[in-house]
Point group: C3
Chain length 158, copies 3
């Protein structure tokens, strides 16, 4: 699929910042990457493939994302681990109206405060995003996690 170079760059930068904002515990910045009318979901691959409705996390507008982050800030007095996202290259799929649709594989590692790192989850982001001038915003992010053992009360977003 043909994608203008500046769109490709803006969306690659958007996803790089997506991972880095979570990893640096800048969750408020992460929320600001989303469009006001947005959708963020975490599902397991097994559920997607079996058509089951099991959704680990679902926020269907930006205020829900804000609430989620705010409650996280109040419940957790300190961050018990570091996250680290490694994203693969973006694969562009189609354009739906004004939105660019792409996916990208991710691996997510967590490091305990004692310093040991381990694999936490692998999977795929399915994304719809808008690019207006220099500004790119996420309209829809579905995290399809291969790993099925993720606690449903996810502390931080994936």
């Amino acid at each position: 699929m043909k994608v203008p170079a500046e769109v490709r760059e803006a969306l690659t930068a958007l996803m790089a910042e997506y991972g880095m904002a979570i990893d640096e515990n800048r969750l408020e910045d992460w929320v600001e990457l989303f469009h006001e009318a947005c959708d963020y979901k975490v599902v397991t691959r097994e559920n997607v493939e079996q058509g089951l409705p099991n959704i680990l996390m679902w926020c269907d507008n930006k205020n829900m994302l804000r609430d989620r982050v705010e409650s996280y800030r109040h419940v957790n007095l300190y961050n018990p681990h570091y996250d680290r996202h490694i994203l693969g290259p973006l694969r562009f799929i189609e354009k739906k109206g004004a939105a660019w649709c792409f996916d990208a594989a991710y691996s997510l590692f967590q490091t305990e405060l004692e310093g040991e790192s381990r694999l936490f989850s692998v999977g795929r982001y399915r994304v719809e995003a808008l690019v207006e001038g220099d500004t790119a915003r996420l309209k829809s992010v579905t995290v399809v996690a291969d790993t099925g053992l993720i606690p449903s009360l996810l502390a931080t977003p994936i």
Copy 2:
């Protein structure tokens, strides 16, 4: 090495689809990424560095890839795991005739149906590919696996 932007994009997209096609169990689509006269090999790094001829998998034309995928479809009644490839950036090396030569590091994770993910293999793709207009095709892929413990009867390609 100077590589035209549209070639770089086409080959990045090709490798993104390479990983995603395997990970989504679209192995027939994966075969279609190859040129009719192609070569696909899986070797271990130890063997490469010691000049040993041990090759874990070798298909030296596209029909062999087709056969391999077809027999996989008949032997396995279901897919006992999910694959997930995370690829690093492409490193362009040279142009050999019409073919662009590059490599890229990969990490490959597998997730059991019970939901646990683990590291399966890391290594490097050495690739020769052709770009004609909008179409990019793989002429030669050598998977050089750092991990040496891969069973020689690989169920799915790497």
Copy 3:
């Protein structure tokens, strides 16, 4: 942040070669990626966030990098493991004078000679680099490792 396409490409290629040079044990090539007046540091994230001065490795000019690699060549008769870096996309932050500042997440795996691969470290590169014509050089690299259990006598660079 707006970054010219050729700068983006040159720096992506530089980082791809950074990882590949270490992984292929071409440490002398790795040193040549640096500017003569350079700075290379490995620190842990915990130390950065607590403002502690603990630095696992520090070379503040290119000759120190050369010495480090040379002594490594003499001390170690053989390489007891293979490294494999998987880098995420570059995230551009700012331009400081002539230097482009960006960061990138990394995962680093090690494979024992017996063939088993395991996660060694995850973290982030903070980089300042110069691009002059076709040549890109590293001015400053700080490896901020999430993983805190890295021995301070690092055998090879990260």
